[in-house]
Symmetry: D2
Subunit: 306 residues, 4 copies
């Protein structure tokens, strides 16, 4: 099986048909689009993939399709997002059946949870399903932060194979990295905008939602960083930072998810990768003016001709 | 079908076997215990019922068992707790199949959501499944508060049949009640400790987790309130407030859920209603000293002989 | 000296001249307006009094003027609002010199503070200045909640003479009241909208900002409650709840303080009590349309002729 | 007057006598200790300087003493920490009189404030006192974050001369820096632990509390960064990150301020710079074991012989 290592592992958008079924041909094209760009792995049913909205059958279908296209050329990580351990374990078992190479799980949410229970949570998931397990630190959704001590303890006892850090806390990321310098533990940054900085601090890889639209940009950034060409990485990052402003196109009342995921999907439509920009209920769809704004960003970033 | 109205509608604990399957005989006994006490409805797979932990099959089994015992003598409300609309709709459809008389749904969580999207969320659930729908306001879990304007708008257009308020915001509850004085809209308080006050402000019913252990207490409180005997209601409430301190028995590192749900279940064991005090992973189980404390509270409240 | 007891103790607005000096004649008229309405005390330099904005000299001038008009007919409570103990003690000493009958202090803010340090804080203030001390629980400003255990401990050792509860947590207020049933400890509710409920739960008094505009309303509510006429109290409360919506008149971008304090002051201008509606920098002033809205609320509440 | 520019500008601790007066000889020695280490400026009455605790007279005395010792060799920045504009303006005027070269002010706190009011706040301070003004972004204390748009707008119109960023949000810091690449605007990081990263992102200077104890370390780090020796800067940073763990010495119930400021002061005592480790009321003093821990950290960092 493709070995999990560092590199660029985009969190795939989930293309939907207008009646909100998984758009399998578009998903296959998106997977190919990423693989051709040279990404090092694929992450499905994460937050960018609308996992919080997708019914179970849709989640598993997405994994199956992407794993099929990837055909073990790169690892396929599956988000197993749910409120607490027994529900997450069910997703983990299903992910194993549907072709996942590794699992990505958050701490429990909705249910109030003590730090000692967070330890139990990850250990039970790991014990239940024999796949590498990454902790997904995303306080904006989970409303708790995984503290570095917890991550280090779970790394030291072999529960966790890595961390996907979407917390924005680079200081904490550095603490994890410096506490476990010699271990076989992988730290991924979920930041689109601080990717170069994260790599310079020692992170092993990137999981940028914007990587759906511009996977080559992140691969260039990663390659520059791997070669120690930090100035070149920063230049690429600066361009990607400008492009990332596309997530703010939604100017009417809507959640930031509606705006960001709508923008990523619309970009993929305009780039000819997927068919429809449809997002899940109850997200607000981008309107015509907002879609024009997406185009403007793509042109400015050099991804489309004016 | 048993008509949803006011009254005492306890949120049932979900008895588990030591290997954490639904303990059906205990659940049947618990249902009978509540019906004999004169409760006016039954609420399954809410927060007290460990819905955040239970796999789907367990959730639906619980509903089926309780609906079977209730046999339409009282309405059975089903919590349909999940992160966003499509996932909640799936639970809602399953709940309809398994015997629910009404649905109880929160706003989306995990996914960031705008107020206009919350409106869409509830409307889509209502449109998808033809059962009375109650909004479940529980900011401690959902991390947003349903504001009174949202509730009133969804009541006015017929989306919501009622509100289960576990927010602790009695001022907001009063605003809802005074804004919709003549409508057929039901407000339930999820508070164990301000039940009398909620009823005096006009709430129609109670959904107290402590009502698992002492349903007769809450029925007496409700009956006193219905008769305008507020002093008697307050006296009953004072006794129940003391008993509610049982949720603090867990003195070691554990979440407040571990302590509270552990205490409710242990009380049911000691009262001879259910077989095991087992709670879901990753909750911490009460130890011997903590279980003795539960007993002390039951004796003080007059529910057990010393 | 006028003895601190229960009753209606409005938190006085601080009238300002157009160049934002204390408007002494208006402040004297406001004090008289409240005393004539039969209030049981006066609270100066609280949040409603813009204490967070007023320089020290203005704070002390306000106290001096109000204490002068009150002439010991009722107690004058002084807010001593500052970030931590040594700064609060300075205000407390000044308040003693300028005529305060009692002090009202929050927990420390701005500086992170542990519960054991909150105990020390109140004890040191009490030790430094020989005036009755009330704790001011206002989490919206202080960003910590005074828990009932802390209040009870400080009541039991004689540090606190009372509590001004602006937290909205009626359950906690009830816990304080039932834990100290026989003590000489005074609980005031800072709620404009749950005053009757607070009194029914056993609170001794009210500190409603809206009492600047309608002190007679709150005195009637209090008198009805004291006579056990709860239905009459609720009717008065319902009228005051409608009037309180006046705090939402500020429809343009502005803080809720700008809207609420602007509305209270504008009401006092329209009622002929004070000269100017001026508020402190950087608050946004109400515009003409918003001032018309204030008038509409006053007419609806029966305080002005149409 | 010494021109404000980049570099290392430590936020001075405020040495106190055992009866909690400003310890002037110790403060003079501390100032000398920092100047000899080659710092580029001095920041008094910030959070590290216990400004939230110090009465006005003590704040101004501190400024006067430090400005006297500095004798215009480096700029002396004065924190003007208070709840809202009129109170901050008073501090700003006093700071001008007592020798400040520049002012550092937060957004309003305690009082709820809208973004448009934050703009007014800084503009009024700037208009009132003719000294360079820096915004102090410290959400842990102020409970709002200064967003990059606000900072950029206030930079563009000449209100702000710079930003002291203690928010930990390196992404936002980068946004400010890239939005104003050519302007004469200074960005200082308040982070002890991400100083090298901040400088690499383009920050102009550092305001590290730990710089009281180890100013030479931060000067070395800054000099390495200025010379583009990023690996050397990172090595120095790694040592300082280990030393910074000293802020966790307080193992008993106490605030993190008690532990951190207690540790900084105890380090200065052990290094022979100041006389007493005394901190303000209501902070908890370090005990003997905790002071031994401080020593252990100093030895490990190479600042003391074992």
């Amino acid at each position: 099986m493709a070995e999990l290592a560092g590199g660029v592992i985009p969190p795939l958008c989930t293309p939907l048909t207008p009646d909100r079924e998984v758009d399998v041909p578009s998903l296959e094209k998106l997977t190919g689009h990423l693989l051709e760009a040279g990404v090092h792995g694929l992450f499905v049913t994460g937050s960018t993939g609308e996992a919080g909205y997708l019914p179970d059958a849709a989640r598993y279908r997405v994994l199956e399709v992407v794993a099929g296209v990837a055909a073990d050329s790169v690892p396929v990580l599956a988000g197993v997002i749910d409120t607490a351990t027994p529900r997450v374990v069910e997703h983990a078992r299903a992910a194993l059946r549907h072709g996942a190479s590794a699992l990505v799980a958050t701490a429990p949410f909705y249910v109030p949870t003590h730090p000692v229970e967070i330890l139990t949570h990850f250990r039970q998931i790991r014990a239940a399903v024999d796949l590498p397990l990454l902790a997904y630190d995303i306080p904006v959704s989970v409303h708790t932060k995984l503290d570095p001590e917890t991550v280090v303890e779970l790394a030291a006892d072999g529960t966790l194979r890595g961390l996907k850090d979407s917390s924005g806390d680079l200081d904490g990321l550095r603490t994890v990295l410096e506490t476990l310098p010699d271990r076989d533990f992988l730290v991924f940054s979920g930041s689109e905008t601080m990717a170069d900085t994260s790599l310079q601090l020692g992170a092993h890889g990137l999981v940028p939602g914007l990587g759906n639209a511009d996977p080559r940009g992140y691969v260039r950034l990663y390659d520059a960083a791997a070669a120690g060409q930090w100035q070149q990485a920063a230049t690429e990052q600066a361009r990607l930072r400008r492009l990332f402003r596309v997530i703010g196109v939604g100017a009417r009342p809507m959640s930031r998810y509606s705006s960001a995921i709508g923008a990523f999907k619309e970009a993929l439509v305009q780039l000819g990768v997927i068919e429809h920009g449809t997002t899940s209920v109850p997200m607000v769809a981008l309107d015509g003016a907002e879609r024009v704004e997406v185009r403007r960003h793509l042109v400015e970033a050099g991804l489309l001709q004016a």
